[in-house]
């Protein structure tokens, strides 16, 4: 079983009747407090990372409200990949810092996140894809990421189970890795709560009103709360929350499916991904093969239903790439929403006319790996530091005033 990966003493015990006394901070019992300096809407990894870093920097008057259960959204539904192989300098540099934070997470937050740096192996099946990898590798090397181009035989040296028929080249960075997503949330949530942040699960926001004197009032079934500042960390649901104050956010949800196999003896070191299909798979610390594939042409939806189309497509591509997996059984499949941004780049900062309402969306399926560093940078900014470069270039206004025209578009939102 998985519990026990954090082994602090329990602070709650069953009373004489056998009923548990819950730690109120996590269970979120009772009504919301009347006010808070910052209300973070969204109890996913982005919101919880922000809450933790804000509290760590001394801003503890923070309330996190989550519509569902902890990790109900994309944070609890992703493949756990953490990579530095990106196509824009800012994403490469941010992910270098995020990897460092992941390496220290167990020590800093007291929970084992099963972070394993087995590398990421991207496979190209055409010269055009090789050229694309080569261009990225050049930029990554200039940033200090040790990605290198491999010929198919060298790729086989790293994953001997591959069938390299049709593979032309591969990009490999040994310091990319995978983690187990859920403990990340438990770690941030528990440490934020320990520092004084209040967390409320099962608390949907019904409406937000901008107050004439500044700040916002958020209404929920647990009552209303007055916030001086609001952070929208709703992931794919961010446009819905922004709409409550009349702000149009142009991101949209795209369902991505994923599945997990029966556990196998550890054999697969890196995350393996194929550019042509967006196929990816890795072996978790539990031994399961976890992976997905990108099926093009599906319309935007908040549905998180599962399809046979996905399972069949994934099985077809995966058994072609690794025929040895043919007899491995799939145990379960599920889905989560990518928060698709029109230009592939995130949307951060405060929109025009709302200097106290902050966005953190449009991460196109890669918000989880970005959250450790984005949460930290956001907290630094909101507690008085000068904003990092990423905030200036990620403003919502770029979609409306043409200021985004000169920005490098991230085109490596693979998998």
């Amino acid at each position: 079983m998985q519990a026990g990966i954090d082994d602090e003493d329990d602070e709650a015990r069953a009373d004489a009747s056998g009923q548990m006394r819950l730690p109120a901070t996590l269970a979120g019992e009772g009504p919301l407090p009347a006010s808070a300096e910052i209300v973070i809407v969204g109890g996913g990894v982005m919101g919880l990372a922000m809450a933790y870093h804000l509290a760590k920097r001394g801003l503890t008057d923070v309330v996190v409200i989550e519509r569902g259960y902890l990790a109900e959204g994309a944070s609890g539904r992703n493949g756990g990949g953490v990579r530095q192989q990106w196509s824009t300098e800012i994403n490469i540099r941010l992910m270098q810092e995020s990897v460092e934070l992941c390496r220290r997470f167990a020590v800093d937050l007291g929970v084992n996140v099963w972070f394993r740096q087995g590398g990421y192996l991207f496979l190209a099946r055409s010269e055009r894809e090789v050229a694309r990898l080569a261009k990225n590798i050049d930029l990554q090397n200039r940033c200090g990421v040790a990605t290198r181009m491999l010929d198919p035989r060298e790729a086989l040296g790293i994953v001997p189970e591959l069938d390299i028929t049709g593979v032309v080249g591969a990009a490999y960075n040994p310091s990319d890795g995978i983690l187990f997503p859920w403990p990340f949330l438990w770690g941030y949530a528990r440490q934020a709560a320990a520092l004084g942040v209040k967390l409320f699960m099962q608390t949907p926001v019904g409406s937000i009103d901008a107050e004439p004197a500044g700040g916002y009032t958020l209404r929920t079934p647990r009552g209303a709360i007055r916030a001086r500042r609001v952070i929208n960390a709703c992931g794919a649901w961010s446009p819905k929350l922004a709409q409550m104050i009349g702000v149009e956010v142009p991101t949209y949800p795209i369902r991505h499916e994923i599945c997990s196999s029966e556990p196998l003896k550890p054999f697969l070191r890196p995350m393996v991904s194929e550019l042509a299909s967006g196929l990816y798979c890795s072996q978790s610390m539990r031994g399961e093969i976890v992976g997905g594939v990108t099926i093009p042409g599906h319309a935007s939806t908040y549905s998180m239903g599962s399809t046979l189309e996905f399972l069949a497509t994934y099985a077809r591509r995966l058994t072609r790439l690794m025929p040895i997996l043919g007899d491995v059984k799939i145990l379960r499949q599920w889905a989560g929403p990518y928060d698709q941004s029109p230009d592939g780049n995130p949307i951060l900062g405060a929109p025009a006319g709302h200097p106290d309402f902050f966005l953190a969306c449009g991460f196109v399926g890669h918000g989880f790996m970005m959250a450790p560093i984005i949460g930290k940078l956001y907290a630094e900014w909101l507690t008085g530091d000068a904003p990092h470069d990423i905030f200036g270039r990620s403003q919502l206004a770029r979609f409306f005033d043409g200021s985004g025209a000169g920005l490098a578009k991230e085109d490596f939102n693979i998998g």
Binding site: Q19, A27, A71, Q202, S260, T307, L311, A312, A315, L331
Partner: protein, 101 residues
């Protein structure tokens, strides 16, 4: 004794593990599933879900009817990739080899 009472046999989850999860504040059945791993093995909850739900109701002082089952996930039974790969539902990418049947 709760450490000896197994609730989920696939994932070796005991009553003590459930108590630990609840003590941690992970009280939604979906949170318990993620924290303890119960119901994520070969049976996918078909054997353990009811007994975990019942014990969770007892520990949190709720009627059993207040504990919904967690979302059940396809496939219905563990299914080999080789079989799934032959389903006609698969999307074909431009570089897919022709079917070999």
């Amino acid at each position: 004794m709760p450490g000896k009472i197994v609730l989920c046999r696939c994932e070796d989850m005991t009553l003590a593990d459930l108590e630990h999860s609840v003590a941690r504040g992970y009280t939604d059945i979906e949170e318990v599933k993620r924290y303890t791993g119960f119901g994520t093995g070969p049976c996918q909850g078909k054997e353990c879900l009811a007994v975990v739900g019942l014990q969770l109701a007892r520990l949190t002082g709720q009627p059993p009817s207040a504990i919904p089952p967690f979302t059940s996930r396809p496939p219905l039974a563990p299914t080999p990739l080789r079989l799934l790969a032959r389903a006609p539902d698969a999307h074909r990418f431009p570089d897919d080899p022709p079917d070999d049947e």
